[in-house]
C-alpha cells in the first residue's frame, strides 16, 4: 500500500501544495483543451447541440473510478484515507438545483470560469465576480440556515457511498455506471446529429 502518498508519508504542507499546483495545471489544461473556457460551448449542452460536457465528464468519472476500484482491489490505496464527500441530502439537492439554474443563466461553473478567465473571456470575469458575491451572501446567511445546512433538517447520512447504501460491491456499481455512460455517449452522439451537428470547435 503506497497511496495516498501525501497522507501515508505525512508530507509537509509545502510539498502538498506544490503537488496541488501541478495537479491544478493538469486540471486546467484538460478543461481548456476540451473547450470549457467557452461559455457558449458549455451552455449548448442544455440545448442538446454540443454534449461535450457530458462526454468529458463521464469519461473522466469512469477513468478515475475504475482506477480507484482497481487500486483498492490490488491493495495499493488506503481508501480509509481518501476523502469521500459526506452526504447532506436536502442541502445537496437544493444547492444542486440552484447551481443548475446558475449554470444555464451564467454559462459557466466555477472550475470552467477559471479556464475562461485564463484565456481572456470577459464573460468569465463577470461570472467569477458573481460567484464570489453569491458565496459572500451564503457566508452571511449560513448561521441562519444552519438547521437545514447541517442540522436536523439536513438529511445527514455520513460519508456514505452508493455501493454501501445498497450493500453491494463497488465493482458492481462501477460496471453499472459504465453501462449508463456508454448508453449516454451513444445518445449524446445521436442528439448532436439530430440538432444539426452544431458542435463548437
Amino acid at each position: 500500500m503506497f497511496a495516498p502518498l501525501a497522507v501515508l508519508n505525512e508530507w509537509s504542507d509545502g510539498i502538498n501544495y506544490l503537488f496541488a499546483f501541478v495537479i491544478g495545471i493538469g486540471f486546467g489544461a484538460a478543461l481548456e483543451t476540451a473547450g470549457f473556457g467557452n461559455s457558449k460551448k458549455l451552455a449548448w449542452q442544455f440545448y442538446f447541440r454540443d454534449l461535450t460536457v457530458f462526454k468529458v465528464m463521464f469519461t473522466a468519472i469512469i477513468t478515475a473510478m475504475t482506477g480507484m476500484i482497481f487500486f483498492d482491489a490490488f491493495g495499493w490505496i488506503d481508501m480509509s484515507n481518501v476523502s469521500i464527500n459526506p452526504t447532506y441530502l436536502w442541502p445537496g439537492i437544493a444547492g444542486g438545483l440552484i447551481m443548475g439554474v446558475g449554470f444555464v443563466i451564467g454559462g459557466y461553473c466555477p472550475g470552467t470560469s477559471f479556464a475562461g478567465l485564463a484565456t481572456l473571456k470577459i464573460d468569465a470575469l463577470f461570472y467569477i465576480i458573481g460567484a464570489l458575491l453569491g458565496m459572500f451572501i451564503f457566508g452571511e446567511v449560513a448561521p441562519l440556515i444552519e438547521p437545514f445546512y447541517s442540522g436536523r433538517y439536513s438529511g445527514y447520512m455520513g460519508n456514505i457511498t452508493i455501493y454501501k447504501f445498497f450493500g453491494i460491491s463497488a465493482g458492481v456499481i462501477g460496471f453499472f455506471v459504465m453501462l449508463v455512460a456508454l448508453v449516454g455517449f451513444y445518445g449524446a452522439e445521436w442528439a448532436e446529429k439530430k440538432t444539426g451537428n452544431n458542435i463548437i470547435n
Binding site: 464527500n85 461553473c109 467569477i128 457566508g139
Partner: protein, 170 residues
C-alpha cells in the same frame, strides 16, 4: 497564431480522469474550484473585520482567529488551474479577448446574466458543499451517494430552466 480545434471529448475526458485519479493517489482528495473562491471571500472579510468572521461560525471555520484562509490545498490547485489553462490556451491559439453568447443578446446583457448566474451558482455551491468539480466530478468518481444526488440536481435545474433562457444562447 491560428486557433486549433478543441481536443476530442473522449480523449480530454481520459486525461481529466487520470488527473483526478492522480489527485486521489497523491493527495487523497479530489479536484475542486468553489472552495478556493470561498477562501478568497473570507480573506477579504477578514481584512475588513476579523470580529465579523469570528462571530460567524461558518466563516470562522475558514478564517477564524489566526487562520489564514489561503493556507490551503485548493488555493494552490486553483492557481495551477489558471496556469494550466493559460498553457493550453497558448498552445491552442485560443487566447482571445472575447465574450461568448447567443446571437440575440448584447455583450453587456451577457455580462449581467453572467453575474446573476455566477451569484446563484456560488450560493448553491456553498449550500451543496462543492460545485461541479468537487462534488459532481470528484465525488462522482468515488461513488459518494450525496455527490450523485447533487450532480443529478444540477443537471435537472439546468435542463429544467433551459427552455426559458434559450434567448441567451441560441
Amino acid at each position: 497564431m491560428t486557433k486549433k480545434n478543441y481536443t476530442s471529448p473522449y480523449l480530454a475526458g481520459v486525461v481529466l480522469g487520470l488527473v483526478l485519479l492522480a489527485s486521489y493517489v497523491i493527495a487523497g482528495r479530489g479536484l475542486g474550484a468553489s472552495g478556493a473562491m470561498m477562501k478568497a471571500v473570507v480573506v477579504v472579510e477578514k481584512a475588513v473585520s476579523q470580529e465579523h468572521v469570528d462571530s460567524n461560525s461558518y466563516l470562522a471555520q475558514y478564517g477564524g482567529g489566526d487562520t489564514n484562509p489561503l493556507n490551503d490545498w485548493l488555493v494552490f490547485e486553483i492557481l495551477g488551474v489558471v496556469a494550466g489553462a493559460v498553457i493550453s490556451g497558448l498552445i491552442g491559439g485560443r487566447m482571445k479577448k472575447e465574450t461568448n453568447r447567443g446571437p440575440r443578446i448584447t455583450d453587456r446583457q451577457r455580462w449581467i446574466f453572467a453575474v446573476i448566474g455566477g451569484a446563484l451558482f456560488g450560493f448553491g455551491a456553498r449550500l451543496a458543499r462543492g460545485c461541479t468539480s468537487g462534488v459532481a466530478l470528484s465525488g462522482g468518481a468515488t461513488l459518494a451517494l450525496g455527490s450523485w444526488v447533487t450532480m443529478i440536481a444540477i443537471f435537472a435545474g439546468a435542463y429544467g430552466l433551459a427552455y426559458f433562457t434559450r434567448k441567451l444562447w441560441i
